[in-house]
Amino acid sequence: MFGYSLKSILRTPVKTILFIILVAAVTVFSCLGFGMWNASNELLLKADRTYKTSALVEYVDDGYPSSTKYTDTMLRTLKTFDYSLLSDQEEVVRFDRQYDVGGHVEGFNMDQRTGVFSDLNVLVLRYLYTTSRGDIFSIAEAPYLGAEARFWSIKIGMQVDLAFSPDLSEPEEGSYQKGHYYMAHGRFFVNKDNTYRFMVMTGVNEAAPSEAAETLRYPFLDLGENRRERETWPSSAEFLLSQARFYQLSNTHISVHPTTDVSLATPFLQQETHLLEGGRYFTEEEYRTGAHKIIVSQRFASNMEVGIGDTVPLDLYSAFTLAEDGLSGTSDFWPSKQTFIESGDYEIIGLFQNTDTLLKTVYIPLSADDMRLMKLTAGYQMAVVQLKNGTGDSYYAKVKPGLSANMRFTIYDQGYAEAVAPVLSLQRTAVLISLISLASALAILLLFAYMYVSRQRETAGTMTALGTGRAKTTVYLLSCVLLVALTAAVIGVAIGFFLSEQVTRFAYERALQTTNVDHRFSAVYTNVETIALETDFRPHLAPLALVGLSVVLSSLLFAFILTFDVFKRKNGEKTRKAGKPTRKTAPEGSDHRGKEPANKVVSTSPALVSVLRGGARNLIVPLVSLVLLAFIGLFSGEIIHSEDQIKDLYDNSTVMGYYTTISGWRIENLLLDRETVRPVMESGFIDKTYKSSMIKLESGLKVVFTDSLRYSPEFFFGDEPIVQWAPGYDESIFQGDEDLVLISQKYAEENGLKPGDDLEFYFYMMFYGMNQKVEMRAKIVGLFNGVSAEEHVYLPFSKSTFTVLVPKWTMTGIIIEEEEEVELSYSSLCFKLKDLRNLSEFKEDLARRGYTSVGKFDRARKFVVIEDTLLNSSVANLERHISYMRILFTVTYLLAAVIGFVISYLVTKSRRKELAMMRSMGAGRIRTFFAFFSEQLLLALLGSLFGIGLIALFMGGVSSAQWLYFAGYFVSYLLGIALSVAVMNRVNVMDILTKED
């Protein structure tokens, strides 16, 4: 039987080759689809293992990110904040609440390179005498000697001359008294003769207790005569001493991070640092018990001259002294009994690589039920959450409504979103190709089985008539199918295996171009470092072989089922039930007339006649057309709808951007030179800019020149302040150039001011080494309530340009003073983008100019953040949807062509006798082609019109774009029809007309 099968196949080469090609093609497509799906799945798993996504939630207000300055608002907000909003989401893998904890390690002291305030000093000086060099003092005591001074070997007993910084007034000449001791705050300078000058200057505000802040204006104090010893110093010295203590503490204070998962800490996650060899992370047990283990930086360890296995004595302090209500308090940079948590010896178990910002950062383990938590409070960093990869957007959407205006949310995904976007697209394409392959395979394998089994019924009939048993005949039929299917499957798997990598890579690279969301400069998505995902699309043979095997088995299954139909027929004729003889013609003399037939001449066009009288078979083409067109309508409707949504998003969304620092922590005090940023502002991408310049007065008042109160940095992240304007005034004052000012309610109350009064102030500006006094007066036209900006006053931005006298050398060498207009640099600058469609171009423009986003550094040293996350996310989702629909489109068009071919082939083949008759009567090939083509065209058109009608009904109309899509589908379908009719047109007329069916 197998031999006969082989002969039968070899003697019908055209049919055999055709079906080998068809079945192999199906196998190839199935292999490609499956291979692509497999590759994308493996890549997604790899990405999940490679990347870690975390979300950092911070509270941002005036004091951010200082650990010494908090507001009651912040304390209240964080104390009452429901952290379950962040922790109880399905996207969360791990949740680590952050606490602000101060620490002190005995013996740790930051050096000249790393120490803070290393150039500042608090000294006790004894007046000696006056020389041409100036007033000479000797250093009697050094409550605080900065690291720089120590580096220069400045010691107790050395002589220095004294100077005062330009913003301080000098004591009158001769006012120093011999034997008197003076306490001063300032820094050292080296004179030309290598002697030292001590310049008295103001200190750091955060240093002093609030009630002493006023006295920092003049950091030079006469202690009196013979007042070398501390016990003899007056109480007024306390503010300078606290300054010294602050510096000292700053250089020995360490930042302790109790954590439930140190690997979630941003520096580790962002690969700013990593654990060095020889160390380890905390164990689960150590977290659970809050063990006295510690992970420190390498530099910290070398500073302390310790290593892994050594212990360090650590004192823990909380950052606040809370009031009784627990919702307010004072920030306590100074360790005290009230803020003390505990002391203990902590064993070093790990060292991490040095970074400048992490020198004094240490990590200790913490568990959720650690009793020490009761004393801990949140700092500006509220929580770090590890998320399941790819869930950043959905998590952000869930938590954002619950965050207050001052809470900033940042996602670090190490580049995961960008890496997997094309992979997800690849996966969707693979699923699609697989589905289409499956549908095509079903149709083709059915046709294949039909051609090799059902069409062999005459042969089968002859075999059984000659005594070959049914089983052997079945074997013969199935062997034919097996031989062809096996050959085709092997070829298909081979080609599929060979092409899989190239095709998958091509699809991936295509997806890469269309799916990448531009996260550069993005506010929420920001990564210091991104990991590149290594792609490997090499296919595995085993799964593809499985596909080939499935094709073979499916073919055999269909063939086996059809054998039942074959054996139901006898000698080519279907056996009917008894009593119902087969009749091809009416018997002689019979009279079918019950009434006279009323068939009038309709047409002699076979096409039209077939359409009108074809009966049920004429439903197939219209139905198929209707279904396919309905799909096209659905897909095109989806595309158009999504495109409209994208357009809507671009037209109606507002995206703001702002300048910031490299860390992204501040958007004020930026000192942006106007000329430097002008090219970006005038690049054509910006619709509107909001700028401010700020001057801080000696009194502590902050004078802000702004063109928008809403977008001043104090209110940018928060709520707009409530303003009570004086009659006739509103926010438009900031666009004008009148001398008008808006002050806080609190400032007004404290200073007895009200709208209508004048506010007078002055400040100094340094030009060419000369201090120039600028005096201003502005009329108060409004009071605002704004907790975070009570020390701010707001004037129109135009007032930030001053006319000053600038000394200039003339040709004769005489210095004259000329008036010059001077503009303050921007202290903050934010902007609204014009056309959001050009967002990528704008980012490209920024990158070209050397701008970077947070955490990176380039030649411009300017850092910009754009709040485009939600827009990007929405647009990306829609674009992905569109690209998916477009793939479906293309596939549907191909399917239309194939279905058109198959259906019209079968329909035309069943009527080839008619075709032969027409040819025998002299109808040319073109005529016969158009006869059958127009018949199929009519039917397809009919179905299409119904389909379009349905779509119009359900979708409320058909757009002009959709008509184009429909036309494309129709052309594809007709191509299929044309091809099949052309193939059928080559019949052997005489053969068909002289042989019985």
């Binding site: 003697r11 109808a923 007329v989």
Partner: protein, 240 residues
């Protein structure tokens, strides 16, 4: 007058495995006004010859000439539309066209108007003895004999001078066979058609003017038998 001529015509079927000479160097002339019966066993080449006479195929060797013009050089579609009509054993009527529409078809194919086609069809149907009521029916509602008459009417409607009939009575009973044969003979004798009938039916052959006999692709000469005598086996002795 000779209208159709075969000049040393041969037709060889070839495939990968074998080649078969279906028609082997046949030369013959057919005249108008005569009925020719082409007789021979199955496989003798009759249908192949008919295929070449109708212009559906071209000879592998030789020429088929219609009115002196080789079919190879003419537009064979036009030849089949206007010069020759074929009637088949299986009637080969369009099942979805009425009888009248079937007969109108070749007339319309010639580019004539619907009215003219209708008129011609009515005339031809009447000629073959079918009623206007029968003209409005579908072929499946007629008997075999009636269907074959429709096929004849269709052939007549084309106004061709040559009618080729391939076993026209093959599916008919004796009575109908005779009727059809008589119609074909009258076409030749009364309307000066050249009628060539391929047939096994001896009764039909008997009605023809000329019997052209074929065997193994060749035309037999006078005295040659249609069937070869079987060769005597060696071991059979002849009777004394």
């Amino acid at each position: 007058m000779s209208i159709l001529e075969l000049k040393n015509v041969s037709y060889i079927y070839k495939n990968r495995y074998q080649s078969v000479t279906a028609v082997d160097h046949v030369s013959y002339s057919f005249e108008t006004g005569k009925v020719y019966a082409l007789v021979g066993k199955s496989g003798s080449g009759k249908t192949t010859l008919l295929s070449m006479l109708s212009g559906l195929d071209l000879p592998t060797e030789g020429e088929v000439l219609y009115e002196g013009v080789s079919t190879e050089k003419m537009n064979r579609d036009r030849y089949r539309r206007e010069d020759v009509a074929v009637i088949y054993q299986g009637f080969n009527l369009f099942p979805l066209m009425t009888v009248q529409e079937n007969v109108m078809y070749p007339v319309r194919l010639q580019g004539k108007s619907r009215e003219e086609a209708k008129k011609t069809a009515s005339l031809m149907l009447e000629k073959v003895g079918l009623t206007p009521q029968q003209a409005r029916r579908f072929p499946s509602m007629l008997s075999g004999g009636e269907q074959q008459r429709v096929a004849i009417a269709r052939a007549l409607a084309a106004n061709s001078r040559v009618i080729l009939a391939d076993e026209p009575t093959g599916n008919l009973d004796v009575g109908n066979s005779r009727n059809i044969a008589e119609i074909l003979v009258s076409l030749a004798h009364e309307m000066d058609y050249c009628v060539i009938i391929v047939t096994h039916d001896l009764g039909v052959a008997a009605l023809s003017d000329v019997q052209v006999r074929m065997r193994d692709g060749r035309l037999l000469k006078e005295g040659e038998e249609l069937e070869k005598s079987p060769e005597k086996p060696e071991n059979v002795k002849e009777n004394a």
